[in-house]
C-alpha cells in the first residue's frame, strides 16, 4: 500500500466551508498523513529536516490548498523554498523525491468558465499550475492533473458532499497500485469517470 502525504495550506481553515467538507471525510488511516502547514508553523519557521523526513516516508504527495491569486497561499511557497533543497530534491545528488507522485488539490472561488482564454482569468487552472508541474518535473516526480473544486461561493452542501466523495475515491486509488496513465489524460482528475462511482 502506498503512503499518502497531504500537505495542507489554508491560512483560515476555520472559515473555509469547502475545505472543511473535504478534510472532514479524511479517515484516520495509517497510510494517510494530514499535515497542516499553517497550524504547524504559525510563524512560518518551517522545520526543514522534519519536512524532508516526512516526504521521504511517503510515496504520494498532495499539495492541498485554496487557489489564491492564481497560486498557493504564501506558506506553501515558503515550504517549497525551504524544503526542496539543492542536492536533496534536485541537482546532481538530489534524488530524494525521484519516482514519487505529486498533485495539487485546489479550491477556487471562480467557476470553471472564467478560467479559460475567453474568461476574465484568461488562462486555465492547468496553465496557472505550471510552476508546480515543473517543480515536480525537476525533482523527478510524476505530476498528476489537479483535483479542482471550483466556484466554491455558489456550491450547495450537496455539491460539496459530492466533491468530498470523489476526494475519498481518489485517495483510495492513490494508495493502490494504480497506473499513472489512468489518471493523466484529463484536465482535472475529478473529471474522470473512475472517481464518480
Amino acid at each position: 500500500m502506498k503512503k499518502i502525504l497531504i500537505i495542507f495550506a489554508h491560512p483560515k481553515f476555520e472559515k473555509s466551508r469547502a475545505n472543511l467538507a473535504l478534510i472532514e471525510r479524511l479517515k484516520d488511516e495509517s497510510h494517510i498523513t494530514f499535515h497542516d502547514l499553517y497550524e504547524q508553523y504559525p510563524n512560518f519557521h518551517i522545520d526543514v529536516n522534519k519536512e524532508q523526513e516526512l516526504l521521504e516516508q511517503h510515496d504520494v504527495i498532495i499539495w492541498h490548498h485554496p487557489f489564491y491569486w492564481y497560486s498557493s497561499p504564501a506558506i506553501l511557497k515558503q515550504w517549497q523554498d525551504m524544503v526542496l533543497e539543492f542536492n536533496w530534491a534536485y541537482g546532481p545528488e538530489g534524488k530524494a523525491l525521484e519516482g514519487k507522485t505529486v498533485m495539487n488539490v485546489i479550491t477556487t472561488g471562480g467557476t470553471r468558465d472564467v478560467y479559460c482564454s475567453e474568461g476574465y482569468n484568461s488562462f486555465t487552472v492547468n496553465q496557472f499550475l505550471r510552476p508546480f508541474e515543473q517543480t515536480a518535473k525537476l525533482c523527478g516526480m510524476h505530476y498528476l492533473p489537479p483535483f479542482a473544486v471550483m466556484g466554491t461561493h455558489t456550491l450547495s452542501d450537496e455539491d460539496l458532499e459530492n466533491y468530498a466523495n470523489q476526494y475519498e475515491v481518489l485517495l483510495d486509488i492513490l494508495k493502490s497500485d494504480f497506473k499513472q496513465d489512468a489518471l493523466t489524460n484529463c484536465f482535472f482528475v475529478n473529471d474522470l469517470p473512475i472517481l464518480s462511482n
Partner: protein, 629 residues
C-alpha cells in the same frame, strides 16, 4: 606635628588643583601641571617643602604601584602570554643597547668604569609613571606604540630586580654599610644566597597567583555580600598593600608584584569594581609623585654645573631616543608609532632614584655625581611631556599618519560594543542569544553569587553597581553602541537612563520594564526601546490557551501581533497624559484605572473579529449583498 602635616597636605593639594587646572586649560598634559606645582612649592621657589621631599617621593611611589596593579587588571593572562616576545625582545634590546651606549659615553667623559656601569643601568630605565600616564591619558593603550611602550616598561620592571641584586657585588666597600641604609628594602634578598633569592621570588610569585584565585576572590565575594561599599575599598587597598609588602620582603619591585596581582585578578568578576575604586586614589598618588619629582629638582646643583648638566641631559635623552627609534624600527613599527614610542620613553625613570641612592649607599657613587644624576633624572622626566607635545604638535602632523587616534579596525570592533546591565533570568537569556551570534556583551551585575555561578558557565560577567558613572566608564560606555538594561529595578533603569542620556547621548538604550506603569516612566524619560517583560509571555499563554479551545494557531498568531501593536500604541498614548503625584494609593488606583481603560479600548475595537482575510464566508456575504442591490 599634625599641624605641620595638615599644612603640607594643604600645600600639595592646593598646588595640584591650581597648577593642573591651569595646565589643562592651556591644553597641556596634567603631568606638566603636577611637575610645575612641585617646582613651585619646592625648596627653590616658594620653599613650602624642604628636605622631606624625598620621603614624600617614596610615599608617592605607591601611586606607581597602584597604577601597575590597575594595568595588570586590564591585561588578562592569555594576552600577557601573547606579549612575551615583545616584552623580552623589545625590552631586552632597549635596555641592552642603552646601557652599552651610556656606558661608552660616561667612560669617554672620564668616569670610573663601575660608576659608568651604574649610571648606564639607571639611564636605561624609563619612567613607568610618566609614560603610562601619558599613554592612558591619550587613550593609546591599544595602539602598537602603546603596547610596545608597555612591554619595554614591564621588562625594565623585571630587570631592575637583577640590577639591585648586582649592585652590592660591584661595591668595593663592605656590604654592611649598605644594608644598614636599605635593610627595609632588601632584608631577605641580602641575607640569603643567590639560589635562595631566586627561589623566594618564584615562591612569592606563585603565592600571588594562588592567593589571587583561592584567597582574594573568595574574600572579595564575602565583602561584596555585606553590601557595605567602603569595605570593598578597604579590601582593594588591602590587596595592593599586602602584595607590595610581600614583594618588598623578597626584594622584587612592588610595582611588578602589584602588576602580577592585577593580572591574576583580571579574570575575576571584580575587575571593574576594583578599577573604579582604586582609580581616583591612584591618580592622586601619581600626582603627588610627580609633584615630589618637581620638588626634588635641585636648582643649586644646576646653578653650579649648568653646562655639564645641560650637556649630559641632552646627550642622554638623544641617546635613549635613538635606541628607542632603532628598536621600534627593528620591530617594524610605523613611523608615527616609532616617534610616539621614542618621545614617550626617552626620559630616565623613577627607578633611577632608587638605583642611584642605593649605589650611593654602597659607596659606589660620590655625593656630587649622585646629585647631578638625580637632577638630570628629574629634568628628563619633566621634559617628557614637553617633548611629547612638540612631537604631537609639530612633528607628527608632518609625518601625516594619524594612527594614534584610532585605527579603523579598532573603530569597527569598538563601535559594536554592547553593555548589558543585569544578568538575571532575563539578562542571561539576552546575553546567551547575543553570544550565540558572536556578540560578547560587557555584562554588569550586582549579585556576586549569580556572577560567580554564571562565570562558571563561561560568561564574562563583572560585579558592580551600574548606576555609577565611573563603573559604566570603565566598562567602556564611551565606546558602546548599545546599553541593554535588563534589570527589573525601575530605579536602577531610570538612574542609568538619566546618566547615559546626559553624558553619553550617542549610546542607544534598550530597557526591560516590569509593567506598563514603569514603562510610562521610561517613556517620559524619552526612552524609545522599551520591553515589557510580561507582554509577550502572557500573550503566548493566552494564545496557547485559545488554541487548546480549538482556535487555529496562525489566526491566533496574527491576532497576538495585532494586540501587541495596538497595546504599544495605547501605552504611548497614555504615557503622554498628565501625571499625578507619585503616591502609593494613587499608584494602585491609577493601575486599576488603566486596566479598565485598556479593557474598554479592547472592547471598542472589537478585538478579534476584525480580521476578514482569506475568509470565503465573508466574500460570499459581500457577493450576496451586491447581488441583492
Amino acid at each position: 606635628m599634625t599641624g605641620n602635616l595638615l599644612f603640607e597636605a594643604i600645600v600639595f593639594l592646593a598646588g595640584a588643583i591650581i597648577c593642573v587646572s591651569l595646565a589643562k586649560r592651556v591644553g597641556l598634559s596634567s603631568v606638566i601641571g603636577y611637575l610645575l606645582a612641585g617646582i613651585l612649592i619646592g625648596p627653590y621657589v616658594l620653599g613650602f617643602i624642604g628636605e622631606e621631599g624625598e620621603d614624600i617621593l617614596h610615599f608617592a611611589e605607591f601611586g606607581v604601584v597602584m597604577m601597575l596593579f590597575l594595568i595588570g587588571l586590564e591585561i588578562e593572562p592569555k594576552n600577557f602570554w601573547k606579549m612575551r616576545k615583545t616584552i623580552l625582545g623589545m625590552g631586552g634590546l632597549q635596555v641592552g643597547l642603552t646601557m652599552l651606549l651610556t656606558y661608552g659615553l660616561f667612560v669617554l667623559l672620564g668616569y670610573d668604569s663601575i660608576v659608568a656601569l651604574v649610571i648606564a643601568m639607571a639611564v636605561s630605565l624609563s619612567s613607568t609613571a610618566i609614560a603610562m600616564q601619558t599613554i592612558k591619558e591619550k587613550g593609546m593603550m591599544e595602539t602598537t606604540s602603546g603596547t610596545s611602550s608597555f612591554s619595554i616598561l614591564l621588562f625594565q620592571d623585571i630587570i631592575v630586580i637583577f640590577m639591585l641584586g648586582v649592585l652590592p657585588l660591584m661595591s668595593n666597600s663592605n656590604n654592611d654599610t649598605a644594608t644598614l641604609d636599605h635593610s627595609e628594602d632588601l632584608s631577605l634578598l641580602e641575607s640569603l644566597p643567590l639560589g635562595f633569592q631566586t627561589l623566594a621570588i618564584i615562591i612569592s610569585v606563585a603565592l600571588i597567583v594562588v592567593a589571587g584565585r583561592y584567597l582574594i576572590v573568595p574574600m572579595l565575594r564575602k565583602v561584596a555580600k555585606t553590601g557595605v561599599r567602603e569595605l570593598l575599598i578597604a579590601a582593594a587597598f588591602l590587596i595592593v598593600f599586602a602584595i607590595s609588602y610581600l614583594m618588598e620582603f623578597v626584594g622584587i619591585s612592588p610595582a611588578l608584584g602589584a602588576f602580577l596581582g592585577g593580572v591574576v585578578l583580571s579574570n575575576s568578576e571584580f575587575k571593574h569594581e576594583l578599577e573604579s575604586t582604586l582609580e581616583p586614589f591612584k591618580n592622586l598618588l601619581l600626582g603627588l609623585f610627580f609633584m615630589a619629582v618637581g620638588a626634588s629638582i635641585n636648582f643649586i646643583v644646576i646653578a653650579k654645573n649648568p653646562l655639564t648638566i645641560g650637556g649630559i641631559l641632552i646627550a642622554v635623552i638623544v641617546l635613549k631616543a635613538i635606541v628607542l627609534f632603532v628598536v621600534g624600527h627593528m620591530f617594524k613599527l610605523k613611523l608615527d608609532q616609532k616617534l610616539l614610542l621614542t618621545f614617550n620613553l626617552s626620559q630616565i625613570g623613577e627607578f633611577a632614584f632608587v638605583l642611584l641612592s642605593f649605589a650611593f649607599g654602597l659607596n659606589i657613587l660620590e655625593q656630587e655625581q649622585m646629585d647631578i644624576l638625580l637632577v638630570i633624572t628629574a629634568l628628563s622626566m619633566s621634559l617628557t611631556p614637553i617633548l611629547g607635545m612638540i612631537n604631537e604638535r609639530f612633528i607628527l602632523p608632518k609625518v601625516g599618519t594619524k594612527e594614534f587616534i584610532k585605527r579603523p579596525m579598532d573603530h569597527i570592533a569598538k563601535s559594536q560594543k554592547v553593555i548589558l546591565v543585569g544578568f538575571g533570568h532575563f539578562g542571561s537569556t539576552v546575553g546567551r542569544f547575543m553570544r550565540s551570534h558572536g556578540v560578547e556583551a560587557t555584562i554588569l551585575d550586582f549579585d556576586s553569587n549569580r556572577v560567580d555561578f554564571l562565570r562558571k558557565m563561561g560568561f564574562e560577567v563583572y560585579y558592580g553597581d551600574a548606576t555609577r558613572l565611573d563603573l559604566l566608564e570603565s566598562a567602556g560606555i564611551a565606546d558602546a553602541k548599545l546599553l541593554i538594561c535588563a534589570t527589573n529595578k525601575i530605579a536602577v533603569a531610570k538612574a542609568i537612563t538619566k546618566i547615559v542620556k546626559e553624558k553619553y547621548p550617542h549610546v542607544e538604550l534598550m530597557v526591560r520594564t516590569k509593567n506598563r506603569y514603569d514603562a510610562y516612566e521610561l517613556l517620559n524619560l524619552d526612552v524609545n526601546n522599551i520591553y515589557r517583560e510580561t507582554l509577550d509571555t502572557s500573550l503566548a499563554l493566552a494564545s496557547d490557551a485559545l488554541h487548546k479551545l480549538g482556535f487555529r494557531k496562525y489566526t491566533l498568531n496574527r491576532q497576538v501581533q495585532n494586540f501587541i501593536k495596538y497595546d504599544e500604541a495605547s501605552l504611548r498614548r497614555l504615557a503622554a497624559e498628565p501625571k499625578r503625584e507619585e503616591d502609593y494609593v494613587f499608584k494602585a488606583r491609577k493601575e486599576i484605572e488603566q486596566q479598565e481603560k485598556s479593557l474598554e479600548e479592547d472592547f471598542k475595537r472589537g478585538i478579534v473579529d476584525f480580521d476578514n482575510h482569506w475568509d470565503s464566508e465573508h466574500i460570499r456575504k459581500q457577493l450576496e449583498k451586491s447581488n441583492e442591490t
